[in-house]
Symmetry: C2
Subunit: 213 residues, 2 copies
C-alpha cells in the first residue's frame, strides 16, 4: 500500500543568467507535483501583475506584522521594499502533497534550511564561466557594467555552493530540468519522508508473523 | 568542462525474498557505471564457481591477515566461514569511476557507513508483507519453517530501515531498478562529489572577472 507523500520544500538558486527561472517554469509546466511559491511584497504592482499570482501585494504594516508573527519562511529588504515567502501558503501546498519551489538566493536559501532542515537545496550551475557570460550578453538588455557586476556577484556566490544539497548543470535545458525532477523523485524515497509507509509495512509484517505462530 | 566523477559505494539491503539480487543484476546488466562487488570467503568453491568472479576464495590465515591489515570494508563469520568485502578491489573500481554495489545485510551496511560516510545505503522494500511472503513461497524451495523464519527476520530487520539513505519499493522490477538508477544519478550531483568541477568553475569565473577589470 502506497501512502501519500507530504510535499518537499525545494529551494532553487543559481547565478544570474544561468536560466533557473526557465528551468523552474518548465518543471511546473511538465509535472503536476510542483507548485511555484508566490512571494509577498510591499512594492507596487506593475500594470500586468496580478495579486496572488505574480505576488501577494501588501502594505508595509501588514508585511511587518507577518514578520512579527513568524509568518514568513524567509524575507529580505531590497531598495526600500520587502520581499518574502509566506509560510502558510507554502505549508498548505506541502500538506496537499505539492513539492513547493522557492527561487531565492543564497542568504534566503540558508535561512530556509534552518527553519526547514528537510528542505532540498539545488544550485543551478552553468557548463562554464564563458557560457554564463555569453548568456548574460545574449539577453541584450544589460550594459557591460551591469554584466561585469553580475559576474563579480557570481564569484562571490560560488563560495556558497557547498551549502547546497545538489548541484545541477544547465547545459541543455530539457536535460537539466529532467535531472532536477530525478533528484526530487529520489528525495521522496528518504525513509524519513516515508514513515507512514514503513510503519504500515512493519505492522503488516508483525501481524502476519503473529498469525502464523 | 565536465570532470570525471569518482564512483559511489552503494549498499543494497532488503528482506530475504524481496528480489534485491535480481535488481542488482539488472542494474549491472543495463548500465555500464556499475560494478558488483566480489566477496572474499574461506568457504570451499562449489563446482560451478570461479575464483575472482563468484568469490575470491582464500584460506583462513589469508582472511585473518586481511582483517588485521584493515583490508576489508566489512566482514562477518557465518557457519564457521568468513565472508567479507575486499577494500582494495572496491577502492580501485571507485577510482576508475565505477559505482560499486555491495549486496549485504544491515549489520554490514552500518559498518560500511562508518568507514565510508559517503556510501549510499538503499533498502529494498516489498509492496506489502503479503507480497513478500508470497514471493518466498513462490520459490518452492523452502519449507514452511524456513519461510516463517525469514518472515520473523524481516520483522527484526524492519527496525533498522531508518538507518538507510533511501528506500525503494520493488513492486515492478524494471521500475524499481530505474528508481535505484535515478537515486544514484542524483547522488552524483552532491557538491562534495563534484569538488573538481566546482573548483574549476570558480577559477574560470575569477579569471574572467579579473581579465575584465
Amino acid at each position: 500500500m502506497m501512502m501519500e507523500n507530504k510535499g518537499i520544500l525545494i529551494v532553487v538558486s543559481g547565478f544570474s543568467g544561468v536560466g533557473k527561472g526557465t528551468l523552474v517554469k518548465k518543471l511546473v509546466a511538465c509535472h503536476d507535483n510542483y507548485a511555484l511559491s508566490v512571494s509577498m511584497t510591499t512594492r507596487a504592482p506593475r500594470p500586468d501583475e496580478v495579486d496572488g499570482v505574480s505576488y501577494f501585494f501588501v502594505d508595509k504594516d501588514t508585511f511587518e506584522e507577518t514578520i512579527a508573527q513568524d509568518g514568513l519562511v524567509e524575507y529580505a529588504r531590497y531598495l526600500d521594499n520587502y520581499y518574502g515567502t509566506p509560510r502558510k501558503w507554502v505549508e498548505e501546498r506541502m500538506s496537499e502533497g505539492k513539492d513547493v519551489i522557492l527561487e531565492i538566493e543564497i542568504q534566503g536559501a540558508l535561512k530556509v534550511k534552518e527553519k526547514f532542515p528537510e528542505a532540498v537545496l539545488l544550485f543551478v550551475m552553468p557548463p562554464s564561466a564563458q557560457e554564463l557570460e555569453c548568456r548574460l550578453r545574449g539577453r541584450n538588455t544589460e550594459s557591460d557594467e551591469v554584466i561585469a557586476g553580475r559576474m563579480k556577484r557570481a564569484v562571490e556566490e560560488s563560495e556558497g555552493i557547498e551549502n547546497y544539497d545538489y548541484i545541477v548543470i544547465n547545459d541543455q535545458l530539457d536535460e537539466c530540468a529532467a535531472q532536477m525532477h530525478e533528484i526530487i523523485r529520489a528525495e521522496h524515497m528518504r525513509p524519513y519522508r516515508r514513515i507512514d509507509y514503513i510503519d504500515h509495512l512493519r505492522k503488516e509484517l508483525k501481524a502476519l508473523v503473529k498469525g502464523e505462530e
